[in-house]
Symmetry: C2
């Protein structure tokens, strides 16, 4: 009997997690993974630190190389893009960079094609390569090393902010331009304003509510400036961080269903509905949002890894369930750490969910303990029941990982009055005697 | 009609929290607080940092002075010890340092007498003043400033360790002697060994399983050495940190019930059973342990503040409930942070509770991110259900406050397989793509 064959489309977090878990579970299975680029299993989240210089070598972002995966018995085909999938015939068409095409059979399939940068509708923007992969980041770094004094970052989300920080750390004069009225749209405006403060204190020129009109280039085609209605800013380098959309072109053409989020529909086993043995995972797939009770597309490595592993389990006859997401995220932006989970006030409003919310300011350590600094906590709760629906944290070192406490409380359905008396830890190096989360919970409980 | 009068016995965390919450709730109430020492509302937890020098001024440990409380309308009597309580007559006897006694009436009473150091049965130990209060800490610091090159700390709990670290930071040659076979008895031995490593790497000579036989003094009565069966160690200063027992002498003599833990029995409203209008809170009182389902005495500022506030609410006609404790605690010991919550394997064993447990080692940040260091996580769960019963964490900066995530999960009754897929935050400055807690939960789930 021929060996069964699992094909993986995409060799980053979700795809290689699927490949690895399938490999571990079924030593007889043939596992083949197709990756367009030269690398597998790399940390795209680490790219801003590579740009900023705190990570010196791109190789450090690779958690497992193609050869590492091959040594584990996974047939990795790098530089090899899947351009078509025939679900009925159980074959896919792979194309090398040189243009050679081959038809590859599969029994089970995991689609893990990730996301692709959205090019903003700006004159000159299409020529800018998004630094979303390690090899693209290496090209950007090489360009930065060739010279230039000024950079413009288009987009003020967490990636734009991290990139702006990295460029500033390299000594560049950096302008960040965001079309919305605030940075970091995942936060409410009041919390986002503190993040903007940190970016500005770091030396980044931040423009919000500003639309880029043109990327001005010299005769040789190199960028020299970025023009907005509020001025023209010098730009030897332009970085675009205006978000990404799920890369679903091939999967959609093959007949896999795309949801309202723009990502591939999956059930809680990462199965593509109506297609036995076909799975999707990671940035290209939807996730069930436990609070909104609908599918969303949240592109984060943490989901990609979990979903990939679950797809690999289920593709090999297992029964693993992805329990969904609640929108937890954390970033370090200049001197502040930023965390969020669950619903923001803005998100709740957009979803028609009535909430109460309270914000507090406190210190990260006992007031007398060296290194204490500000922390702001905002909680969002259901009126009446007081059920915690979300939280946002901004503050100095030690602030943001507290978001996981709120994530756990949101997940478990705790009410803010219960949270206010929860047995959290205390010692002077870590908080005042009431942890900021307890103080915020108490303030919120008074409103419910 | 005469004003009602609330008397508070003890002017630190629990007592002054009770006084303050009663004051806020009932502006008509007369609130009088009796405190033996000169200070109110101080952070005993900060004393090791005062000794070590990272906190320069004892005044910084005072969160509110007697005059501060008086300005809020609380009649604070410092230097005034309550030596007897007559519950039938609703009076107490207060004695000043000069020996003057007065009889004070009350309608409601909050007993917040804290805890008192246990003097170990060692020759010469009775002469050592425990540095449990700010004024005692000031005397110790003054003695350290007068000279001496070597110190011995008797007791290897978290306070002993913090004091040993502080003394080392002052340049003293420090030996810490612990009778048990491990430091920090609140941890399992495997985790405690890592804490001992950190103490030793900091330059502290750590002896475990060692019994102090004598504190050797010179002719003038000053300590010169500490003798054990395993050697005699120089000691210009001796610090005793061998634990404290609830200070319940006066309350017990008055007829209040003392539980098996040695602390005052209270119900979930901090009421002393059988005595209307009489409350106890803080280190002198029991707390309900939610996992052991029995009363315990855990002396921590976080409980004292919450219980005091609840006593103050209920003493003024309110209805507040203390939900109990799960044994959460955190400390910074030299280069490591240490957290624990719920049941350790040792505690579960002592309570006859069958558990499974798993330990993992990981890094506090993404491996490529600067400043990443080790973190160890140990989880304890119920076999079968997989319900998380406890956790212990040791690691470098950023490690220990994660204990609050485990505390929340224990509190909410989450199972380890659910925890393993929980939507916790990820970014390279804060963890690998799987937070160490998720990795530990997964390892534990495999055993349940």
């Amino acid at each position: 009997m021929a060996r069964r064959r699992l094909a993986i489309v995409g060799g980053d977090a979700a795809g290689m997690s699927a490949a690895s878990s399938a490999r571990r579970r079924d030593p007889e299975l043939e596992v083949v993974a197709f990756e367009r680029g030269p690398y597998t299993s790399y940390s795209a989240c680490g790219i801003p630190y590579l740009i900023g210089g705190s990570v010196g070598d791109a190789g450090r972002l690779i958690s497992r190389s193609p050869d590492g995966h091959r040594a584990n018995g996974i047939d990795v085909r790098t530089g090899c893009e899947v351009v078509a999938i025939d679900l009925a015939a159980r074959t896919l068409t792979a194309r090398t960079a040189a243009g050679a095409e081959s038809t590859e059979p599969f029994d089970e399939l995991v689609v893990a094609t990730g996301a692709e940068a959205v090019t903003p509708p700006i004159e000159g923007a299409a020529a800018i390569e998004p630094a979303r992969t390690v090899d693209a980041a290496e090209r950007l770094r090489a360009a930065l090393e060739r010279g230039g004094r000024a950079a413009v970052v288009i987009g003020g989300g967490y990636i734009g902010l991290e990139m702006a920080e990295g460029l500033t750390d390299r000594g560049l004069d950096v302008t960040m331009i965001e079309q919305a009225d605030q940075v970091m749209s995942t936060l409410d405006a009041d919390m986002a304003a503190r993040v903007q403060d940190a970016a500005e204190a770091h030396g980044i020129r931040v423009l919000v509510g500003a639309r880029v009109e043109e990327i001005v280039r010299d005769d040789a085609g190199a960028p020299v400036a970025v023009r907005t209605a509020r001025g023209t800013f010098p730009a030897d380098h332009v970085v675009v961080g205006t978000g990404a959309r799920p890369a679903v072109g091939v999967a959609r053409a093959a007949g896999l269903e795309v949801g309202d989020s723009g990502a591939l529909r999956v059930d809680d086993h990462q199965r593509c509905p109506g297609h036995d043995g076909v799975f999707a995972a990671g940035d290209c797939a939807e996730s069930h949002h436990r609070l909104l009770d609908r599918p969303v597309n949240i592109q984060l490595g943490t989901h990609a890894n979990k979903q990939g592993r679950i797809a690999g389990v289920n593709a090999t006859g297992g029964d693993a369930r992805f329990p969904g997401v609640i929108g937890t995220a954390v970033s370090k932006i200049c001197r502040y750490e930023v965390g969020r989970t669950g619903l923001s006030e803005t998100e709740a409003g957009a979803a028609g969910i009535a909430v109460v919310s309270a914000s507090i300011e406190d210190r990260t350590r006992a007031r007398y303990y060296p290194g204490a600094g500000p922390i702001w906590v905002k909680l969002v709760a259901e009126p009446g029941s007081g059920r915690l629906l979300g939280g946002q944290i901004v503050g100095v070192e030690g602030a943001a990982k507290r978001i996981d406490v709120l994530a756990t409380a949101v997940w478990a359905g705790l009410a803010v009055d219960e949270l206010a008396l929860l047995d959290l830890s205390y010692a002077p190096p870590f908080s005042g005697v009431y942890d900021p989360l307890l103080i915020a919970a108490r303030a919120t409980a008074k409103l419910t």
